[in-house]
């Protein structure tokens, strides 16, 4: 069943399109031979598969929260054909051995591509560089390095990492959080934290690191990527740096495009996330930044946690929320429905741009000869989020019960139908 003719779909511009797939690749319709399945995609929009550069898969070490398999299932249900495994696992993905293990797990499940991100420093301790070249030259071909969850706080370590990854055109993805300014921090510092008596995580703790790292990247002429930007000030720093020609890119999560720190007033730890939800004016600045290209991509920061890590008092709860299965709908709601970007432009920031940034050659494009990684989405339908029905092993979504626009109907990876909403799962092999 690996040959397909997708008929009557619409492309990102709204034009009618047919797509032929054979042997995992996109081919000319006339190249299709006798045995293929025909799929009438009337009313559906056909687009390149989404690409996530910030995913917590939890395996190895925390398989109670998520595994490579369940994360892959969640990914394809959300329209992703490639995800990037953050290294904060047990053990930390700071060696060729661990990144290869994760890469092979992803490959063996075969639902989507799982590209490991390597740790910048040994054990993510921020002291000593991990063997970055070994990870890059491993089967996993690691191109992005991050100590995500922790900030590479020591300026000298950050400088060396930025310089060193030039060896193989790598990029350092910084989780920008000054550790001293955020000790035991619980939520955005401002009006709401003052009222709730929760310790503040000030915007300046993020912006100070962004500013420093931009200057370092400029000084050594390296590529820098800022993870999950959350503040208006951070957007402005990146905007100015880009104007100067600094090789800096930035991402924003769907939740920071929609939710504000007011959600913490419920003390429901589902809304506890790092970096924290910010204010309405930050949300607006992030949306504008994504629209004008200051922010290059959307990344989920999908962070599964078992129920007991959230069903407790706020300060004891874990940081993070699910993202993969709701990301497109949330962005469609926040960015396209609000009139800031066209569908094609949103897709550029969720598929094409991340694929290019990470050098994932088989993603983000749908031309003849390319790998058939694509999705079919119904933009006219909506769906109600049911935390219990999500594919992810964890249920910590902030959108439970919400009615969201845009339904991912089918996801194809390497020409194989890996997610079919009608049949709720995987078809073919």
């Amino acid at each position: 069943m690996n040959s397909w003719l997708i008929k009557n779909a619409r492309d990102l511009q709204g034009k009618d399109v047919d797509l032929a797939v054979a042997n995992g690749q996109i081919v000319h319709v006339k190249e299709l031979h006798h045995q293929y399945s025909e799929l009438d995609a009337k009313g559906l929009t056909l687009m390149p598969g989404l690409v996530d550069l910030h995913t917590h898969l939890r395996e190895p070490g925390r398989e109670d929260a998520e595994t490579v398999f369940t994360a892959s299932q969640a990914a394809v249900a959300g329209g992703y054909t490639a995800i990037s495994a953050m290294p904060n696992t047990l053990p930390v993905a700071d060696t060729a051995g661990v990144v290869e293990q994760v890469y092979r797990l992803g490959k063996s499940h075969g639902l989507c591509d799982v590209f490991p991100i390597g740790a910048v420093t040994v054990g993510q301790k921020g002291e000593q560089l991990a063997e970055l070249v070994a990870m890059n030259q491993s089967e996993a071909r690691v191109r992005i390095f991050s100590d995500d969850g922790y900030c590479v706080a020591d300026p000298l370590v950050m400088r060396r990492a930025l310089e060193y990854v030039k060896l193989f055109d790598g990029v350092v993805a910084q989780h920008a959080q000054d550790p001293r300014l955020t000790e035991n921090a619980q939520m955005n510092e401002g009006e709401v934290s003052a009222r709730l008596g929760l310790k503040g995580w000030p915007a300046v703790a993020e912006e100070a690191i962004i500013a420093r790292d931009i200057l370092l990247a400029e000084h050594v002429n390296s590529r820098l990527h800022i993870c999950h930007l959350t503040t208006a000030g951070g957007v402005e720093l990146v905007r100015q740096a880009k104007l100067r020609g600094v090789k800096v890119t930035a991402e924003v999560t769907p939740h920071h495009l929609l939710l504000t720190d007011e959600m913490a007033a419920t003390y429901d730890a589902t809304y506890k996330v790092n970096p924290p939800l910010r204010t309405e004016s930050d949300v607006q600045a992030l949306r504008r930044g994504l629209a004008d290209g200051t922010i290059d991509i959307v990344a989920t920061d999908h962070a599964p946690h078992p129920q007991e890590a959230k069903d407790c008092e706020w300060s004891a709860a874990a940081f993070g929320m699910l993202g993969l299965e709701t990301a497109f709908s949330i962005c469609y709601l926040a960015i396209v429905k609000s009139g800031l970007l066209s569908l094609a432009d949103l897709w550029q920031r969720m598929s094409i741009a991340p694929a290019k940034l990470a050098r994932y050659e088989n993603h983000g494009e749908l031309t003849v000869g390319r790998t058939a990684n694509f999705v079919l989405v119904d933009l006219n339908k909506s769906w109600k989020v049911d935390a219990g029905a999500l594919k992810s092993k964890s249920k910590n979504t902030p959108y439970d019960g919400m009615e969201l626009p845009a339904v991912v109907e089918k996801t194809f990876h390497n020409g194989v139908l890996v997610y079919d909403r009608e049949n709720q799962g995987r078809e073919g092999a």
């Binding site: 510092e189 401002g190 009006e191 709401v192 934290s193 003052a194 009222r195 709730l196 008596g197 929760l198 310790k199 503040g200 000030p202 419920t266 003390y267 429901d268 007991e308 890590a309 069903d311 407790c312 008092e313 706020w314 300060s315 004891a316």
Partner: protein, 321 residues
């Protein structure tokens, strides 16, 4: 009103009803020291995840004077760990059939969570959560102020009250700012800038960095406890410097209005935020605050789980006398 988690749960009328009820109850307690049968057969649980003997004893006394059965559940030091502990403890209490759970917890929002998740059916009363709120403390403070400066009548309009010290970490300050302003008073927060939260400008209170600028015009001065560990976190350079600039001493007391009172939620750090002269001066109502705490907590329990209003109490008193 089902729970008392924050002063925000109360309207001005609710708050006044609690104060009026407390006035009646205190009058009766003073005269006879007898028990009221109102909560006979009801179970009140003191669920304390943090040590606070004075608050626990105060609630216990209040519940017992209303004839409730009291269970003291000290979660501190037991096998309680992070995570599920709050939920598991709540489910245990639910199984015991608690009508009210009085919870003290080190985490801001823990009582709100207990109430929101409805792990228990009983009323949840916040007895201090992290650096969030301590509503019954604010109620007893308002009661004390009203008794001295308004003869137990009406609201607190026209009064100016200084809250001095570690506002940033103080649940007492948060609840008092909300309640005193709700009752019409003007609140001025006095603290070094390091001990005021970012966002304090939204509280509606005045802010001053100099106690000497405001002390002469205040009707009450409420001193907050300052923990010595704050010094290590760089909030102020030394105890001496703090005491010199923000401590209540004899010279400052001499500047106060004739009628003005000195308050402290306790326990005090004598020599740091208040000198012995301050604590023991005739303006000090600190000991009285403790007694008023029992009356106010009786009123809260009475109104929250007694299924009654202050009018019922008046009728009841009428019947018995």
């Amino acid at each position: 009103m089902r729970d008392l988690l924050s002063i925000n749960d109360l309207t001005k009328d609710d708050a006044l009803e609690i104060l009026d009820t407390a006035v009646q109850l205190s009058a009766l307690s003073d005269s006879s020291n007898r028990k009221f049968p109102t909560l006979r057969g009801r179970t009140v649980v003191n669920l304390f995840f943090e040590d606070s003997t004075r608050t626990r004893i105060s609630f216990e006394a209040a519940a017992k004077r209303l004839s409730a059965d009291v269970i003291n559940f000290s979660a501190k030091g037991s096998s309680v760990s992070k995570g599920e502990s709050l939920k598991d403890t709540a489910l245990t209490l639910q199984a015991m059939g608690a009508d009210a759970v009085i919870i003290r917890h080190g985490s801001s929002g823990a009582p709100a969570q207990l109430a929101r998740k409805r792990w228990i059916d009983g009323a949840v009363i916040n007895a201090g959560d992290g650096t969030h709120e301590h509503p019954t403390q604010a109620l007893l403070d308002a009661f004390t102020i009203r008794r001295h400066l308004k003869k137990d009548q009406g609201d607190l309009a026209g009064l100016k009250i200084a809250v001095v010290g570690d506002v940033l970490h103080s649940r007492v300050a948060r609840s008092n700012v909300l309640l005193l302003q709700k009752l019409g008073a003007t609140v001025v927060l006095v603290a070094p800038p390091t001990l005021l939260p970012v966002g304090v400008e939204h509280w509606g209170a005045q802010v001053s960095f100099a106690i000497d600028d405001v002390i002469a015009e205040c009707d009450a001065v409420m001193m907050l406890r300052v923990q010595k560990e704050r010094m290590e976190d760089l909030f102020f350079p030394s105890e001496r410097e703090y005491a010199r600039n923000f401590g209540l001493n004899a010279a400052r007391i001499a500047e106060m209005k004739e009628s003005a009172i000195v308050m402290h939620p306790g326990p005090m750090n004598r020599g740091l935020e208040i000198t012995a002269e301050g604590a023991d001066s005739k303006r000090s109502v600190i000991v009285e605050q403790v007694a008023n705490g029992v009356s106010v907590r009786m009123a809260v329990l009475y109104l929250l789980i007694g299924g009654a209003t202050s009018r019922d109490l008046a009728a009841q008193i009428g019947d018995q006398s």
